[in-house]
Symmetry: C2
Subunit: 331 residues, 2 copies
DNA sequence: TTGAAAGCGCTAACAT
DNA sequence: ATGTTAGCGCTTTCAA
């Protein structure tokens, strides 16, 4: 008995002795129906075990009560927070969340947007890989919200990298460092560009030097090349594109018997799962991705407004064991 | 311009000079339409940018082409593999995957199944928290597939804990260990029970002792209590409920200056993200959760058969740095 | 092989 | 406040 004949609104209407429209109203527009009638209808519906058919509802209303979240890689723990936050926000509003993995590909991202578009009321794209044009076109056909990416006319939620990078630089300066090296990720990375821009600005303001090396793979595998380059450059403070790379760097430094933080301080971005139990525990900029994911869904939930909102989510430096005084500094 | 009037099957039919039913057939029943006609229709559809409306499709066919995956905690990296695998299998079949977070709660799980049921063609429940009765009832109303849980009459995919625990015991025995302590997780955990049962059986076969301590929190936080108890019990080989607990144990042991693996060997379950970069890298039983997730969806994809399939996914011991010879053993 | 037409379950005018 | 009715876009008989 795969589907034991579902109870429809008609069954409820008949059984309650009212019209289907009244049942519909009782369910979705309380207040536009007599309280007593409503009471009765709800009771009958419950007794019959009535569950509204979402497809039918979507057919006539145009709203699916479903939202999509697209991430470049579901297994990347960095996105776990955003996924959870989005799911939470959707569930809290009684909405359904569809998940899509774009496999780090702009093409896959576009396909998913096209395929999911008609099935959902809105799409959150996290760390979008598509070009501005791709996204603008997608935004014209669907309600869109971006996470860690901005585009004129499209609502977005971004981490406060400006303040965050400033915290990083201040922290390093307070430890006596006078220069830093940024181990960059892929050039196409929007957030990578923001991180480096913030770092440069903060370094300039603090009067410390900042050099960028790379690009390196933003994964554990990127670590060896990045660490070796940093060492060759004589760096004592390195800031990595993300935590994955930072942990890769940590491992390489350990393998080369370079002590962290005594000889080299290492900072990451993301406060990813594992950043607190790697060795040494990583100093990193936490992003509150869960809030960002939730916020993006909420942006979609509220009725479209004239000017698309652009929310900035605060960041916070988590100082752990991978940063310390510059070697030979008086402090 | 939120939704600039989508192209419908009627538009395609008109533009192609055929009936809507022919378009429908060309799209979903190739072979029941003239090849030339079909070619033409497809071309027109592509030119117009036609995308089928899933709700409408679901209305008339009853099939939503959507599947749901329920996990206890989306942010737990252990489930990332299953999520990815399920998403991959669904996408490969042109299906949509809805994600639900049950927040480790049987009640939430039940609610989600009830709410999502009418909206999907099937539901994968990973590490189900509900009682057998709950699940049996849910299975009567929906197509269900379980991951790491079995129930008569419901298809399931489970990790091969029997073989896996045997590998663990063999490994420890080969290192000279003559007894082990299992640091257990929550008593309600189905997989925890399976792990302990397997361990006991394998230990008995190998003629080594096995004791169970706990329950402990299956998280980093469970580590201190578990590690202290293991030490007090004089254990030299401990097997932990999962990797989170194992890493917590590792940290506690490090804090207490107990060397791993020289004094104590530690084994985990899951080969979770991070198990390879914690210190020391963790020896653990890998589960191929991605395959399991994909397999569960595929179970739902194929037409219901008489006897529900029960798939067993192989496990594999990843020997890293946290296990070594028993202290004082001749090897 | 193709077309015409009847719904699928629900919502949203429009009446009353 | 409630009933009547016309679709929403698509699939699926049933005829031709």
């Amino acid at each position: 008995m795969a589907v034991p004949k579902r109870v429809t609104i008609t069954d409820v209407a008949e059984s309650a002795g009212v019209a289907t429209s009244t049942v519909s109203r009782a369910l979705s527009t309380p207040g536009r129906v007599n309280a007593t009638t409503r009471e009765h209808i709800l009771e009958v519906a419950a007794r019959l075990g009535y569950v509204p058919n979402p497809s039918a509802r979507a057919m006539s209303s145009g709203r699916t009560h479903t939202y999509a979240l697209l991430v470049p890689d579901i297994t990347n723990p960095y996105f776990a927070g955003a996924i959870k936050g989005a799911e939470r926000a959707a569930a809290a509003a009684g909405k359904t969340l569809v998940l899509g993995d774009t496999q780090e590909s702009a093409a896959k991202e576009g396909e998913l947007i096209a395929r999911l578009g008609p099935a959902v009321d809105g799409i959150v794209v996290a760390a979008a890989r598509g070009t501005d044009d791709d996204l603008a076109a997608a935004g014209a056909r669907n309600r869109l919200a971006l996470v860690n990416r901005t585009l004129p006319g499209v609502p977005s939620v971004v981490a406060d990298y400006d303040a965050g990078t400033r915290q990083i630089v201040d922290h390093l300066v307070s430890l006596g460092h006078r220069s830093l090296v940024f181990l960059g990720g892929p050039h196409e990375s929007w957030s990578g560009a923001r991180r480096w821009a913030g770092l440069q600005a903060a370094a300039a303001d603090a009067g410390v030097g900042a050099r960028r090396l790379g690009p390196y793979l933003p994964t554990l595998q990127g670590g060896p090349a990045a660490a070796d380059a940093a060492l060759a450059a004589g760096a004592h403070a390195v800031v990595c594109h993300n935590d994955m790379l930072a942990i890769g760097v940590l491992r390489r430094l350990a393998a080369r018997r370079v002590r962290v933080p005594e000889e080299v301080s290492v900072v990451g971005f993301d406060d990813m799962f594992g950043a607190d139990f790697c060795q040494p525990a990583l100093t990193t900029l936490a992003e509150r991705t869960e809030d960002a994911g939730a916020c993006a869904v909420e942006l979609l939930l509220r009725p479209p407004s004239g000017t698309p909102a652009s929310v900035v989510v605060p960041t916070q430096l988590r100082v752990r064991e991978s940063t310390g005084p510059r070697p030979g500094s008086p402090s």
